[in-house]
């Protein structure tokens, strides 16, 4: 059924997620149970193979059997299939609510490419001559991103946006050190609505951080920046558009002010999905930037292959790039680790090259015009959704009163009105949405400057029906907040998961051993 604009969307009223009450795998199985019976090799094979452990140093040999659950194969298959039914993932539910993360469709064909043994069985230490294909691809993709951003050279070593920001902070420091100003220039300026890594990464390597707060229009005034710059300024590290979805029209002036003070400017392009082919970091005067391939460039997040913070710089900063770099001498591609001014390796090897391959494939499939089209579609989707969401009583667009300009690819909203009227909070709404079979949303980075926040980012790959369904769920939950607030506050009801236990985040357990430790302590 296709819902035309304005028509009532049919919600998944009878949705219920599979609740298998599945135990942890470590609690399953019985002693002696096993998956595969490996046949005895027999004397002949044993004699011919010799001592297979001879090449393994004594120190690396396991003395005790690993503490693994003993299970049959059907039990294992059942267990993991059940777990897969207990998540609301990108391939199951409309997932446009995780603003700032650009959850878009990850083309499956690119999974097949990256899982090809041609790539999957490469080793980072192979001789350059045996990996010419992937080196060429990395080199060429660096050139494409240079064209998209206006920068001169890229590295794909950083395995995530914050590592890319860290690489930029390290290069910023190295640049000032090369001019004898490292001690003097120890401050990095950022904005409160930039991704927090723009403050955290430079702080990690000893920079002091100055954060600009916005004026009534959601953007820091130029005067605020002028109050922050000085002889101690090492540089500016900021996102644009910021997490509010507001594009900062004063950004070129920011860059000029920081350059005049002798600082460098780094552009965190985590929110680049609305500006591909529209505006470039270089055109605003930036010296360095980073793209998150796992966001803007269609690479899946985390568990399906690893993130990449593709980091690019202008010519003058190329000597400081992380080593090794991929170079081309006109006939062959090679790794150059002999770079004395380099900030060193950000990560071992060349980073998550399988993700670089996926991003390359995505860009090649779209072409330059296609990239711009994707950006336009993402902005269109977002502004359509802004119209739908702000029509819901109790919801408002952050800074919407003082700054009604169109948001780009995402928008931060507030349920302040709904909370005042009903006592229902943003995380209550989030928990209730899941009951209608759509993924919940992202609230906001810390600290919450916008009260009762939620941040939506409907990337280009969502259809109008997806947007309508998502908006209709929000609308329904807002109605429920008025008619039956307890229903919303005690949600989710039709989901596998319950509301998280308060305080549980203080004792995270990511492994079985950690879980036992936490149990032993008794979580508060």
């Amino acid at each position: 059924m296709i819902a035309r604009h304005g028509e009532k969307v049919a919600l998944k009223e009878r949705f219920h997620q599979a609740a298998w009450q599945e135990k942890l795998v470590m609690e399953l199985g019985r002693p002696g149970r096993r998956g595969v019976l490996v046949p005895d090799a027999g004397d002949d094979i044993r004699a011919r193979a010799g001592d297979v452990l001879a090449g393994t140093p004594e120190s690396l040999r396991r003395r005790e059997l690993p503490n693994l659950p003993e299970m049959s194969q059907p039990e294992v298959v059942r267990h993991y299939t059940r777990l897969s039914q207990m998540v609301l993932a990108n391939n199951v539910a409309v997932n446009l609510g995780l603003g700032t993360t650009t959850m878009k469709y990850n083309p499956l064909v690119n999974e097949f490419l990256s899982r090809s043994p041609k790539l999957a069985e490469l080793h980072p230490d192979q001789d350059d001559s045996t990996v010419q294909g992937i080196l060429e691809l990395i080199y060429r993709f660096g050139g494409m991103l240079a064209e998209i951003s206006g920068m001169d050279r890229f590295t794909f070593q950083p395995a995530g946006g914050s590592q890319g920001i860290l690489a930029n902070a390290l290069m910023m420091r190295a640049y000032h050190a090369s001019r004898g100003e490292a001690d003097q220039r120890d401050e990095v300026i950022t904005t409160i609505f930039s991704h927090p890594a723009n403050a955290a990464a430079p702080a990690t390597i000893g920079f002091k951080v100055v954060t600009l707060y916005p004026g009534p229009d959601g953007i820091p005034e130029l005067e605020a920046l002028k109050a922050a710059v000085g002889p101690r300024t090492a540089g500016l590290m900021m996102t644009n558009p910021e997490d509010t979805g507001i594009f900062n029209p004063r950004v070129a002036e920011y860059v000029r002010v920081v350059h005049e003070a002798g600082g460098l400017c780094a552009y965190d392009q985590a929110n680049a999905n609305g500006i591909l082919g529209v505006t470039r970091a270089r055109d605003a005067g930036f010296d360095m930037c980073q793209f998150n391939l796992h966001k803007t460039f269609s690479v899946p997040h985390g568990c399906m292959g690893g993130a990449v913070g593709a980091t690019g710089v202008r010519e003058a900063l190329v000597p400081f790039l992380p080593a090794p770099t991929v170079e081309f001498d006109g006939s062959r591609y090679y790794l150059d680790a002999d770079r004395p001014a380099s900030v060193g390796a950000i990560r071992s090897g060349l980073g998550n090259v399988q993700s670089v391959l996926k991003a390359y494939a995505w860009v090649v499939s779209l072409g330059a015009e296609g990239l711009r089209e994707a950006a336009h579609m993402a902005v269109l989707n977002n502004n359509y959704l802004v119209g739908r969401v702000t029509a819901i009583p109790g919801a408002s667009l952050s800074f919407g009163k003082d700054n009604p300009t169109r948001r780009l690819e995402q928008a931060r909203y507030s349920w302040e009105g709904l909370t005042a009227d009903t006592g229902v909070h943003t995380m209550d709404v989030h928990n209730r949405m899941i009951d209608y079979g759509v993924q919940g949303y992202f609230s906001s980075h810390h600290p919450w400057l916008v009260p009762e926040p939620f941040t939506l980012e409907p990337a280009e790959s969502y259809s109008q029906e997806d947007l309508d369904e998502f908006a209709a769920v929000l609308e329904r939950v807002a109605e429920e907040a008025h008619s039956n607030p307890e229903l919303v506050k005690t949600a989710p009801h039709n989901s596998t998961a319950g509301a998280s236990v308060p305080g549980a985040e203080a004792h995270p357990a990511m492994t079985w051993r950690a879980f036992l430790d936490v149990q032993g302590q008794g979580a508060e």
Binding site: D421, S443, H446, W448, P485
Partner: protein
């Protein structure tokens, strides 16, 4: 055993506002308010908050005062409270608020909920201090104190959070009050009376993606950052506030809770000083810094609760020597509103307006908008 919750309603709170009076401190003003046709609104605001609690269907024991001081609001929500205090007359006063709070503490309440304004908060503070956490329902004309929830529903929500065990931490919040006589004469003079403990709802500041450090450790980090930058032979004029108080604590010094103290070379030079003394000290010492933090719920840097640091004091110390400190959570709690300056020196207010560089922690500063409320001085 179910938790015992005390409820106190100041029935006359907020009556002045609708008839243009500034507060209802004192029987003459209440009489005047009634003559002008003021309607009690505190009972309704209290019921709106209690309704949240009643809806949540949690087991607890409600203790309150007879009639308009709580019982009426409870019954309106189908709650059946025990009466632990009866006012001698229907013209209730601050004595009744204090008496009720004392009776509730004697009964072992774990939480006191009250509806009123700044005057009520002061009365509750005098009886309770930090012995029991409170939830304050805003129902008065004057709401300068940071103890109040943003609205009755939010107050009810806090009570539910505590009863359900979702909120287990408390934080200190300022009890401020205006001198009403001066206010009615057109002069604004606020004092900081003390701190009440209020439930600290982490949900209001925490995001799903980031685990927040506790506000406590953020404030300690900030105090240490300030102590680290202290220079010899410099007097530090430390204004009141929960954040600034930690600075003295990290120096191992006793400070006054509410006043302005002066530190030099790691020693307490003077406690709880007034404007005259500050000016004398500034004359005797060549180098000075003024350390202030936003006071109350509205973000005042100067002019509320720290009037000792007058315009003359700021000028004598040097405007460039004003050090503003606040944790990131405190800045965020302003909800985007600017910091405010309202010294007795309008020219100075104009100069201070614009942007303040706020120290927020070790190696961390923020540039935050500052305004002065025009036409109030």
């Amino acid at each position: 055993m179910p938790i015992r919750v005390g409820l106190i309603v100041n029935p006359i709170a907020g009556m002045g506002g609708s008839v243009g009076l500034k507060g209802t401190d004192g029987p003459a003003v209440v009489r005047r308010a009634r003559e002008l046709g003021a309607m009690p609104r505190a009972a309704g605001r209290a019921a709106a908050a209690l309704d949240e609690v009643a809806q949540a269907d949690i087991e607890f024991e409600l203790l309150t005062c007879a009639g308009a001081m709580g019982e009426d609001s409870a019954l309106a929500c189908d709650l059946h409270p025990s009466i632990v205090y009866r006012a001698a007359s229907s013209d209730t006063s601050g004595d009744d608020t204090r008496g009720a709070a004392q009776a509730m503490i004697a009964e072992g309440v774990g939480l006191i909920v009250f509806a009123g304004g700044d005057g009520t908060a002061r009365d509750v503070f005098e009886a309770v201090h930090d012995s029991v956490p409170v939830v304050a329902i805003p129902a008065g004309v004057k709401i300068h104190s940071a103890v109040f929830a943003v609205n009755p529903r939010a107050a009810g929500d806090l009570v539910v959070g505590v009863l359900r065990g979702r909120i287990s931490r408390t934080r200190e919040a300022e009890v401020m009050d205006v001198d009403e006589a001066a206010y009615r004469d057109g002069r604004l003079s606020t004092r900081l009376y003390g701190y009440l403990r209020v439930p600290d709802d982490a949900r209001l500041v925490q995001a799903g993606k980031v685990r927040s450090r506790s506000e406590d450790s953020a404030a300690d980090d900030l105090a240490l950052a300030v102590v680290d930058t202290m220079e010899p032979e410099t007097i530090y004029i430390v204004g009141p506030g929960t954040t600034t108080r930690r600075i003295a604590r990290h120096l191992g010094l006793d400070s006054t809770l509410l006043g302005v103290d002066v530190v030099r070379d790691g020693q307490m030079l003077a406690l709880d000083v007034g404007e005259r003394q500050l000016l004398d000290l500034l004359e005797q010492n060549r180098r000075a810094r003024i350390i202030v933090t936003p006071i109350g719920g509205q973000g005042y840097l100067f002019g509320r609760g720290n009037q000792q640091i007058s315009g003359r004091v700021v000028r004598a110390a040097g405007i460039e020597n004003v050090v503003v400190v606040a944790t990131p959570a405190k800045l965020a709690s302003l909800g985007g509103r600017p910091l405010l300056v309202d010294t007795d020196d309008e020219e100075l207010n104009r100069t201070l307006a614009g942007f303040a560089t706020v120290t927020t922690g070790k190696g961390r500063r923020s540039v935050y908008p500052v305004e002065f409320p025009r036409g109030t001085s």
